[in-house]
Symmetry: D2
Subunit: 245 residues, 4 copies
Amino acid sequence: MTQPSAPPARYDDLRALFVNCTLKPSPAPSHTQTLMEVSQAIMAAQGVRVTHVRAEDLLLAPGVYPDMTEHGAARDDWPALFEQVREADVLVLGTPIWLGERSSTCSRVIERLYAQSGDLNEHGQYAYYGKVGGVLVTGNEDGIKHVAMGVLYALQHLGYTVPPQADAGWIGEAGPGPSYGDELGDGRRAGFDNDFTQRNTTFMTWNLLHLARMLKDAGGIPAYGNQRNAWAAGRRFDHPNPEYR
Amino acid sequence: MTQPSAPPARYDDLRALFVNCTLKPSPAPSHTQTLMEVSQAIMAAQGVRVTHVRAEDLLLAPGVYPDMTEHGAARDDWPALFEQVREADVLVLGTPIWLGERSSTCSRVIERLYAQSGDLNEHGQYAYYGKVGGVLVTGNEDGIKHVAMGVLYALQHLGYTVPPQADAGWIGEAGPGPSYGDELGDGRRAGFDNDFTQRNTTFMTWNLLHLARMLKDAGGIPAYGNQRNAWAAGRRFDHPNPEYR
Amino acid sequence: MTQPSAPPARYDDLRALFVNCTLKPSPAPSHTQTLMEVSQAIMAAQGVRVTHVRAEDLLLAPGVYPDMTEHGAARDDWPALFEQVREADVLVLGTPIWLGERSSTCSRVIERLYAQSGDLNEHGQYAYYGKVGGVLVTGNEDGIKHVAMGVLYALQHLGYTVPPQADAGWIGEAGPGPSYGDELGDGRRAGFDNDFTQRNTTFMTWNLLHLARMLKDAGGIPAYGNQRNAWAAGRRFDHPNPEYR
Amino acid sequence: MTQPSAPPARYDDLRALFVNCTLKPSPAPSHTQTLMEVSQAIMAAQGVRVTHVRAEDLLLAPGVYPDMTEHGAARDDWPALFEQVREADVLVLGTPIWLGERSSTCSRVIERLYAQSGDLNEHGQYAYYGKVGGVLVTGNEDGIKHVAMGVLYALQHLGYTVPPQADAGWIGEAGPGPSYGDELGDGRRAGFDNDFTQRNTTFMTWNLLHLARMLKDAGGIPAYGNQRNAWAAGRRFDHPNPEYR
């Protein structure tokens, strides 16, 4: 069985953007951030250029256009954040769980990502092609998988590649209780010794790096059969339907 | 803008398994199958060895063990189907929508895939690592995205890689109405001329091929930071938590 | 503050059907059943006629017709189970969680309930009008709310009334671990001392009884503005759209 | 078959609050509002006091406390909106669909409703007991049921009663296309002649009225077996678990 002692590649040309969708602006402590820092540390140890942004420190206007100031908003910090999204090879969204759902802030971020889905890259593919995405979720009692379903769905639908096991998180037993990283009476901190949470966060991180490496080396997703403008121009790439021309 | 006239690679060493989770056994017509055949035809044109299985033609026993005959079931066709899953580089699940959800049969298939999640490959990774997955959904009125969320989530959680835009489907306007492929009064067939459905099915298919090619050429997902047995043996792959050893 | 010492009514004319959607046929122990028994005991103490059915002890054929033997199935136990559904004032579905979703068996039961959605009662309302529904969910780590969302949605969409807080369940901390009722090392049983689980199960049970009482005393949901045949015959009940007649 | 010519009761003592969770502040046209107005008109014709609020006309601060100005927010319009929620017997949330999900604004509203879930009424029940809730959803192609699942789940979990068929909406065929109420080339408006949408919206509206009438006449949900403070004080209401006292 292969258990290599060193990573199979270098990752120090990669950029990763971590967007924390906690409802709390800085400098309030964020349980979600505490977990995100685990993944960030692994990437940083490999030389990845990691940026962490807290969405509620910005003013992301509601709407589905790239720049809402062109549609009546007084201010919109999305265009600047989108520059960071565009430069990043890896995007990790972090979100708390409220009533079993991702935060409204996380939905806001995804709505704005979606607003750019008309953008095409130089190959006529959606702009997010060639990037990889993952999600980290924290709550006190329920909902990691449900939240991850929606976030990862959105990312892949927009063009991100989702590596194996690209979600991780922590929740406690059903009912009210401590959140990730809260100090417990005995000096331990909630979730820090949860093997499942720590292992999955680690595996997610490495799988993001592996796929990002692979895609970057390949120059993105091969441009064939997935170019929006080629399709619009009538190319069909072996699509068989005789009635559909 | 690059619009290559030919695919960037050959795919004739790949195998693809399409599992149709319609509630209807053969030979009843299946709307879902009609859409799946679009994707299958594109792959077949590239020489991919395509297998189509209808789950309700088999007896997949309820349960979460690899072989339910060892747990009291009189018969279980899952072990044979799993052999096909294991040999396939690409897995596409197709499902109808009932009351906004995937079919019970689709859930059954996913439960049985999950039953094998303890299997590890020769690198100590989950057995589904290195494979790619997608989903095709048909209904008459609502639910493609919701169904796709759950199916793609399960696939990536099990170890599949999810390429960009790995879901496609067809639904009609809200309320009762024709299903995919039903003959309409005017000789047309429902959904056959839906640009969104046909384009997304095509893009999904090619993205599955591109990622399957890439992963096969790389020998799977690099085995580092994601080996279950290495983690169990204490390796931590730059995991930073000083309290977590 | 009002804290009455006795229930405000009698409930001994009510019938409740509990359908356990575990993947395991009898007599295998079911964690879900252990929780369902809490709710059943409260109802039984009030004289409610309680029936508990394990779906996997029956053969519920796949399909969306009331009797699948008329559509090729060799056997179908649904028609008999539906008689019990029809007689019950209260329906509680219990389900385990697999990969964050309700069991395939639970989906099968809902598909068959849906198959009867064309049935109308004597007022021309959907047949499930006047009944109340709830859900109990057990798993080892995640998904009560997500599963409850789907089940309660289906029930209300079919015509059930959903009382306040009609869902309850138990899950443990993220990751593998004991299921509801499993014996822990120290003699305790998982979830038995979880205040949230036990309280919510109790509240759910009483709210089902309160609403069932209210609806039975009222002769069901008043038959006005919700009669499918009246609508089909052209009645519009103050619907305002001048273009829609 | 009973088809009464007049409503079975009067409803002019009821209040209904419709919260439109479109991403667009007034006076931008809202497709969701166009559908909500159907329900509102039916209620108004019965003398119900109807209020329509567009959430994005307000500043609802992110967070899960009743008044976020006490937690650092410069402004928070939630406390004033909550007064309207508290006075209303009926709450209808309206939301558009983005990428298959409810709007971020809708999630924000639900988070703030949740922030009040510690409030108890004079019987020691959750403050939302005795109220009824429903949801209206519009999009151009997919997601009514998925969105309704989450919204109705939240409402019942908070204490609202969900009547039969308390969701309605409109979407068009898969892919880009007109939204509800958009003018089509032929003078028609999208969805106005959709029988399913108009019927379900009507049935939802009447079922909200019927249940609101019933609950108001009963003085709310009977206060037994569901009082948070009674439970906290040790009352168990026939809960059977000998180990749980």
